[in-house]
């Protein structure tokens, strides 16, 4: 029966369903593959759809060979073969398309569906988002239903789908065990090269760059604190440190990337876990100042947390910070860098500093800092997302004419003023603030929280954080920027006043989606080797590696299969008619005794077959058949007969014919 089925031609409806599901499953690959590859695939699908009506339109063998050559050329040209992942996926996709063109018998469609499963998996090499996972999961379910339908003579969509869901449910325990116990790699499977553009802080700061970024409400990273979150004025998320300036542009110092000795365990440190969105850069963000670094990272001499690999995928890491930590080291080179000035410093700027120097003690640099902050506080400076363009010497223009700026204007000009005054200064960029998700215990830091501040060298105190923006707009530190309001108006607006009911509902939904997204990442995608180890420890399995893990996987898998098997064998409680259940018990008994029970056989036929196999039990079998047929198909129905049937089925013993028993 099975072989006959395999050779049967495919019902057009099932083939149509297969084509539709495959086409839908391939759609997300549009983000990864060259349009020509997907175009080729969809052309093949379209061709096959047309051939449903006109089977003669299917390509012959030679045309198919030519198409294959064209497909391979297409793969080589579009991927250049420099990225094995991309080339491999592209090859699979075009080959799946070609396979569709030679679908004839049911056997072919099975091959196609399995290839389809594989191509579905390749999408996870590019993205592991929850949305994609849900979409592909649903598609795989339908694809499985098509498989089930192919193995049935009469496929009813609902029945077939129910069967597929049943298969998935049965597979779930095994999938869970494998998910939890399968050995994890410490680095990503693919050294991912990507030309994708990421939103986020770049390694340098030009006037206006952070202001642009502040218009984006995209998530930069999410944080979960181990204990009490720090107060807003300490929520500075340290990123790259900038040393070089030409007056308009600030950039990092390549040489300062040298690794700093680990700070070591810090009892005062506040632990937290960050889930960083991909940035395409090496540096990570940590609460100012990171003292306990995660594995696979180092702290550079500017106390920026730097990863060994570019963050091209979401990254979850644990770190700890001590807000009261003093960065006390200053090399001669750093002193020189911290005092570096642009080629030309405007006389008005130098004059202003000289004026301050006259009234402060050079041994007390903090007095100079205070004078500068007073200057920002007392003069009519405006904190705005739309500062306008600065011509000529930007610092001079900003300090004396426009007086409109975003944080980078304040941080940049403040650092410059300090350097002119002979105090080593540097600019730190990162984020400031964060918002708590009311539905979950985590904080969201957005691109609009991007910030720049200054650090000055104070003997005895080390690098000392000074945020000139706080002098101009103290609210910036306390509340997040209200992006929409700030863009419309002249000044930056803070907080979110009183949203309408509909808006509140929407915001609520956004927070909920954020919580789900982080949960998905933390528990599924980000289930790393470290998490696996801690799970195993929690299970009391300790540190399992290699062989031990493989044994655990085998045992766990066997247990999962056993659970599914046993629960499938449990008699299902059925309300109402007891007869079908009794009959199933009877047929199960026959099946175990070796009778070939076929669902389409009537009771008479079945019992006749059983009686031929077990002539010694013929009387018992005949009585069971008679009572069952009477009850199920005759007019009689009384409880006494049902009980009698149940009793007889229970007592039925099937003795093989050769056993001679008197």
């Amino acid at each position: 029966m099975r072989d006959a089925l395999a050779a049967l031609p495919i019902a057009p409806r099932l083939l149509g369903a297969t084509l539709f599901v495959l086409a839908a499953l391939m759609a997300p690959h549009a983000a990864n593959l060259h349009p020509a590859i997907l175009g080729f695939f969809y052309l093949a699908v379209g061709w096959r759809v047309l051939a449903l009506r006109h089977p003669r339109w299917l390509p012959g063998r030679w045309l198919l060979l030519a198409l294959m050559a064209a497909a391979i050329a297409l793969v080589i040209m579009s991927t250049g073969l420099y990225d094995g992942r991309l080339a491999g996926t592209a090859l699979l996709v075009v080959m799946l398309g070609l396979k569709l063109l030679e679908l004839r018998a049911r056997r072919d469609i099975h091959v196609t569906v399995f290839l389809g499963y594989f191509v579905v998996l390749t999408q996870f090499l590019y993205s592991q988002s929850l949305g994609l996972a849900v979409y592909l999961f649903a598609g795989t379910l339908v694809l499985t239903a098509v498989q089930v339908g192919l193995n049935r003579v009469h496929a009813q969509p609902r029945q077939v789908l129910r069967h597929a869901v049943g298969l998935f449910v049965a597979a779930l325990p095994l999938a869970l065990v494998v998910f939890m116990l399968f050995p994890r790699l410490h680095s990503p499977l693919w050294g991912i090269k990507t030309q994708r553009a990421f939103t986020g802080i770049s390694g340098e700061m030009t006037l206006g760059s952070l202001g642009e970024l502040s218009r984006s409400t995209a998530t930069a990273f999410r944080v979960q604190f181990d204990g009490m979150p720090p107060p807003p004025e300490q929520r500075y998320w340290r990123g790259p440190v900038l040393w070089h300036t030409d007056g308009r542009r600030w950039s990092a110092d390549r040489a300062s990337a040298r690794a700093l000795d680990t700070v070591g365990r810090d009892p005062l440190a506040l632990g937290y876990e960050i889930t960083l969105e991909p940035t395409g850069e090496y540096w990570l963000f940590g609460l100012d100042v990171v003292t306990v670094k995660p594995p696979g990272t180092h702290l550079n001499s500017s106390y920026t947390l730097v990863s060994e690999q570019r963050v091209n995928q979401r990254l979850t890491f644990r770190a700890a910070s001590d807000p009261g930590f003093h960065m006390l080291a200053l090399s001669e080179r750093e002193r020189a860098l911290g005092l570096q000035l642009p080629d030309r410093v405007a006389p008005r700027v130098a004059g202003l500093v000289a004026q301050w120097q006259a009234s402060t003690d050079p041994a007390q640099p903090l007095q100079m800092v205070a004078r500068a902050l007073d200057f920002f506080r007392n003069e009519p400076f405006v904190y705005t997302l739309t500062p306008g363009t600065l011509q000529g010497d930007p610092v001079e223009q900003f300090l004396f004419e426009t007086r409109r700026g975003f944080c980078e204007h304040y941080a940049g000009s403040f650092a410059l003023l300090m350097r002119v005054a002979g105090i080593p200064a540097r600019v730190v960029i990162g984020y400031q603030g964060g918002e708590r998700n009311p539905h979950a215990d985590h904080w969201v830091v957005r691109q609009s929280d991007a910030h720049a501040w200054t650090e000055v060298w104070i003997p005895g105190l080390g690098w000392w954080r000074v945020d000139p923006t706080a002098a101009v707009a103290p609210d910036r530190i306390e509340q997040p920027i209200d992006t929409a309001a700030s863009q419309a108006g002249d000044r930056v607006m803070f907080g979110d006043g009183d949203p309408g009911a509909l808006l509140a509902l929407w915001q609520n939904a956004v927070w909920l989606a954020d919580a789900v997204d982080l949960g998905w990442h933390r528990w599924v995608v980000g289930f790393s080797a470290e998490r696996q180890t801690s799970l195993l420890q929690w299970l009391g399995l300790g540190r399992l590696h290699g062989f031990g893990l493989a044994i655990a996987l085998l045992i766990g898998g066997a247990l999962a299969v056993a659970v599914v098997y046993l629960s499938a064998r449990l008699p299902r409680p059925r309300s109402g008619d007891p007869l079908p259940m009794l009959w199933r018990r009877f047929t199960d008994k026959l099946r175990r005794a070796g009778v070939d029970v076929v669902a389409s056989q009537g009771p008479d036929t079945l019992c006749a077959a059983a009686m031929r196999m077990f002539p010694q039990s013929a009387d018992q079998l005949s009585a069971i058949r008679r009572i069952y047929v009477q009850l199920r198909y005759g007019r009689q129905s009384d409880q006494e007969m049902v009980r009698a049937l149940s009793r007889r089925i229970r007592r039925l013993s099937l003795r093989p014919a050769q056993v001679d028993k008197g």
Binding site: P12, L14, A599, S600, Q601, P603, A623, Y633
Partner: protein, 314 residues
């Protein structure tokens, strides 16, 4: 435990008489018990029978034997291309003596009509017979005349020589409860046939077992054979399967489902049972369903078998 009694025994006399009919018929039509039983079930279910087979395998003999055994008067109509509806239904002829038209009933006015090679006649003539079969009456010259009771048509057609014939359209095929074919006898049966005496003389020796009145009582009794909800589930599953399957052009209609049930009841009655079991349905399904279904691919008979194998008994 006492054997559950069949408390609703067969009403019109002993059902052994039906067995006897089959045994008697089996002596003339050797080696075809299944076809005989199906034909008898068809009569008892009050339906008409279409036999599709090559000439010379005993179609006419079967009709003759049934007519004799059931005590029905018998008419045979050989269909030809030039036949007119009046040749079947009858014609009104002017009588010069009393100056009036008198209706001369055609051959259709018989209890058992053998319509031989029905596909040779034009569709107009075919439909005259088929309408009479359905309505069980004939309307001529504005006057409606009842056909005799019981009324049973056995039509034959030759599937091989199709040139110059008018195949029955599907809507007309639906008027036949069953379609069967006899096929060649096996070697032993054929030997018996060759060695035995002439069928015609044997036919003359056949004595009627059931009279027309008794047959009507049997037909009425078919309706009283019990059909349980579980069996209806099965019939619905079968019919439903033909509707969703991709193997058939169209599925079975509710009328076909009713026909299936009626045939299964008659089959159960011949077996001496007061209720229908799934095996009854399985026995009659190929004959009841195959001419109502049109397989998109492959052999219809094979597909019907696959249908039976594919539908589980609830």
């Amino acid at each position: 435990m006492p054997k559950p009694a069949l408390n609703n025994a067969i009403a019109p006399g002993d059902h052994a008489i039906l067995r006897q009919v089959l045994d008697d018929a089996g002596r003339l039509i050797v080696g075809k018990p299944q076809a005989l039983r199906l034909s008898l079930a068809c009569v008892l279910a009050g339906g008409h029978l279409l036999i599709e087979d090559i000439p010379g395998v005993g179609k006419t003999t079967l009709a003759h034997v049934l007519a004799r055994l059931l005590g029905l008067d018998f008419q045979r109509i050989q269909f030809t291309a030039d036949m007119l509806p009046a040749d079947i239904l009858g014609v009104s002829i002017y009588d010069r003596d009393d100056g009036r038209f008198h209706f001369h009933p055609g051959p259709v006015f018989a209890q058992l009509v053998l319509a031989d090679e029905i596909n040779r006649a034009t569709p107009k003539t075919q439909s005259a017979l088929l309408e009479a079969m359905e309505e069980r009456q004939v309307t001529a010259d504005g006057e409606t005349r009842e056909l005799p009771e019981p009324f049973f048509v056995i039509a034959t057609q030759n599937p091989r020589s199709q040139i110059g014939t008018f195949g029955l359209p599907e809507s007309q095929l639906d008027r036949f409860l069953m379609r069967i074919s006899l096929g060649y006898p096996d070697a032993a049966a054929e030997r018996e046939l060759l060695a035995g005496s002439d069928r015609r003389s044997l036919l003359r020796q056949v004595t009627p077992r059931i009279g027309p009145q008794s047959l009507l009582a049997w037909q009425a009794h078919v309706e009283r054979i019990h059909v349980s909800p579980a069996l209806l589930d099965y019939v619905q599953a079968l019919v439903g399967a033909t509707r969703v399957s991709a193997h058939w052009e169209i599925g079975l209609s509710p009328r076909a489902a009713l026909a299936l049930l009626r045939a299964a009841r008659a089959w159960a009655m011949i077996d001496g049972r007061a209720h229908v079991v799934p095996e009854d349905v399985q026995a009659v399904l190929p004959s009841v369903a195959s001419h109502r279904l049109n397989a998109l691919e492959g052999d219809t008979t094979e597909q019907v078998r696959a249908l039976l194998e594919g539908v589980a008994i609830p």
